[in-house]
Subunit: 231 residues, 2 copies
């Protein structure tokens, strides 16, 4: 239930890396490290960590470029950790969607406190753990879906899609948003795969897929799921 908080550290300098790992490891966080921007992005997509610590000086990509790409598909909280104390750099990073910016060298306990603050912000807008409307019920904790009380089987992608829409019930999600959130930052803008999956989900949960009760299409924009009756 209370699995360890998982932090991804994207940082190429060895000494800094091992220092932070030791500092946070003692605190009970689970740390994964990436030494390059590309590795960091791919790990972010595959691991879905709870928070990312991002150094701005990386061998391949600029840290700001990593942040920009990450933000195109993910809201994972990002705390920048950088030796650079320049105004312009800080402003850019924060406006690209970083949640905090800590300058090296830093107080160890301040970093930990800022990580707690960033995690608090993200937990703040995690939605309810159960979606329910009409005859459909999705338990986002247990990863189960029931229709008329009967559990139904969804493949991995189908479930990811449905739970993403359920978490944003009532709100339109654009095709690109969905593609990036599910197929990762490098997803092509190919809606076909989305259509096929939506058709498959609809066949499983809608009485009449041509006249959907749960999954609505907003032509030219994206998809929207019926409002959650729990709010």
């Amino acid at each position: 239930m209370n699995a360890k908080v998982h932090i991804l550290l994207i940082e190429d300098e060895k000494s800094s890396c091992s220092y932070i790992t030791a500092l946070l490891g003692k605190t009970g966080y689970h740390i994964t490290t990436a030494a390059t921007g590309r590795e960091g992005l791919s790990l972010a997509a595959s691991l879905c960590p709870d928070l990312i610590l991002l150094d701005l000086m990386l061998p391949d990509l600029n840290g700001l470029a990593v942040l920009r790409q990450l933000r195109s598909w993910s809201h994972i909280p990002v705390v920048i950790v950088s030796v650079c104390d320049e105004e312009q750099e800080k402003v850019e990073a924060l406006d690209l969607g970083a949640d905090d910016y800590v300058t090296k060298p830093f107080y160890p306990n301040e970093l930990k406190a800022r990580i707690r603050t960033a995690l608090r912000h993200s937990h703040h807008h995690t939605p309810g753990q159960i979606y329910e409307a009409l005859n459909l019920r999705i338990d986002l904790d247990k990863r189960t879906t029931y229709l008329n009380g009967q559990q139904i089987h969804l493949t991995q992608i189908e479930y990811q899609l449905l739970s993403l829409l359920a978490e944003n019930a009532g709100r339109v999600l654009t095709y690109n948003t969905i593609l990036r959130r599910i197929w990762g930052p490098y997803a092509e803008e190919n809606n076909q795969i989305l259509r096929v999956n939506m058709a498959n989900i609809r066949r499983k949960i809608e009485k009449n897929p041509a006249c959907p009760q749960y999954l609505f299409t907003e032509v030219g924009v994206g998809y929207r799921m019926r409002e959650n009756e729990n709010g």
Copy 2:
């Protein structure tokens, strides 16, 4: 609809106070100041500002005590602005629920960026911008339109048009302005397509399209939408 963001500054030192007021006032924020902790708390309660800037050195209460009291009833984002650069102080403030901690002296643009970040964190939770008048309600965040509580369907262009007018409710938008904003900078000056779309929208939201309640024609000029009742 686009009311100024309201910031409460709790700070007793005059020079700092006027500096920050000038800095943020130029940026378009509406600032109210309080010179003591008690005054700050009472203004926070009565004004419900969008964000609070809190100095930790106050004549009556310790800034941390102000924060503790505030957090007992409110989630208004708080950014600490303090001359104190001690680890212990920062950790306490952040763990008491401050959203950020900026040490004086600070880069002016960094402060502004951190304020934007704090506002972004809070906006995530609050329902975004909403147009509401008579029986019509447009949720610009969810991209939904309700008439008498019933959701109604608008096509892509219809929604773009209506939300553009709603964002500028009360103001006349000329035909060319609208055409450029929706059909792009190279749009022909062909108002006919605009008329057709307006007629379609009116048919969906007006009781009697010949006698509109929401979408008014300014002959020879453009269109105007009824004032938003939320301001």
